[in-house]
Symmetry: C2
């Protein structure tokens, strides 16, 4: 039986609109397209070599994800970026991810444990490794995402996982936009190990406590970074 996943971006892009959706999404989350920036059709057409139709469909879909805003007759905008939003997104992520974790841990079977261990190990190897360039950071994002996803993967609620995934991605966007080098500033690695241990011990209370702290720390670092930027 194939378990449904929260993310729809599995497999190759069947249509141009789908491709546009993924490209735009990545560029918005990564910050290549700046918050509040106007998404002019002409600019995007030349950037991606995709016609206006598929682009508009992709932006409409992203509007449903709250990564893009629709402005009446005045086009589309990359979702803005505020300390207030960072706080709200962090709090919401805390709530849904703790819940998803609480549902996942008691249910997780052998395959789940293996996946958790594997993704942790890959992340650990990267964190303790040498290079810290731009590509290493984006690789870390990928592995971090995989580990967190593995932890909640046994949660049976597709809707909860979807919501968690959405909030995770928004949180990730804030992390990347504020250029919080979490790897350097905090002992993320220890937090991840605590998560791993709690999960394998099936200690739901502990895992939830750790994940809440983990998310809260990131949120605070992000808000700090935003305020520093604003001062300048």
């Amino acid at each position: 039986m194939k378990r449904p996943t929260a993310d729809s971006a599995t497999g190759p892009a069947k249509t141009t609109a789908e491709r546009a959706y993924r490209l735009l999404r990545e560029d918005i989350v990564s910050g290549a397209l700046a918050p509040g920036q106007k998404l002019k059709i002409e600019m995007l057409r030349s950037r991606y070599d995709i016609g206006s139709g598929p682009l508009r469909e992709a932006m409409s879909r992203l509007a449903g994800d709250h990564l893009v805003e629709i402005l009446g007759q005045r086009g589309f905008l990359v979702a803005p970026f505020t300390a207030q939003d960072a706080r709200e997104i962090g709090d919401l992520r805390k709530m849904v991810e703790a819940e998803a974790l609480g549902q996942s841990i008691p249910i997780g079977d052998g395959a789940w444990e293996e996946r958790v261990i594997t993704t942790f190990h890959r992340l650990e190897r990267q964190e303790t490794g040498p290079a810290q360039g731009v590509e290493a950071l984006s690789e870390w994002e990928r592995l971090n995402h995989a580990f967190h996803e593995a932890l909640v993967a046994a949660c049976p609620s597709v809707w909860l996982l979807r919501t968690r995934d959405s909030m995770f991605k928004h949180h990730e966007r804030y992390r990347r936009l504020s250029r919080v080098r979490t790897v350097l500033t905090r002992d993320i690695h220890t937090e991840h190990r605590e998560l791993l241990d709690a999960a394998l011990d099936k200690d739901v209370e502990m895992a939830q406590r750790v994940i809440r702290l983990h998310i809260e720390s990131t949120t605070q670092a992000v808000i700090q970074a935003i305020e520093n930027l604003t001062d300048t």
Copy 2:
């Protein structure tokens, strides 16, 4: 200061795509377009007298809201309808609405109280009134929505309100699709009064307990209805 609302559908529709979005959304939530139904462009074109471009944009946006599914190169589908989804949506709504209520009640000021009282009163008048036709039921939906929204309106988190609103609308869809005449089967009215009292007493614990029960009862009625339909 204008407080932001969770629902973007305020004011007149500026564009055709926006109009298509609202029409489609209403028809999906109301059940006029059946769950799992194929949304053929040609059919929709004649139904709404709107071109394929705006229609596709509207459906893409609805896909972001999880009210429509995108099928590769094979068009769009109205989101399906399962007992499993009803359960997950109900549970998620319980979580976010209780949280939103918990944040709203302590903050709510005089204007908030007035709005809660007003919307409760309108709902009460309708519930204890005579007619129970189709139009009365849809009027009840409107007033019920207004009351629940009023209760959480003082919650400062736009993201939490947005998520609550989304889950509320999905839950509403299930309620309407399963034709649960909640008004008749349970003493909804008493539950609403308890909510009102707890809110005005600023009794967060009580309000959360009541809202959870209230939502759970609806969920169970919906699931019951779905299972009855499936038996046939």
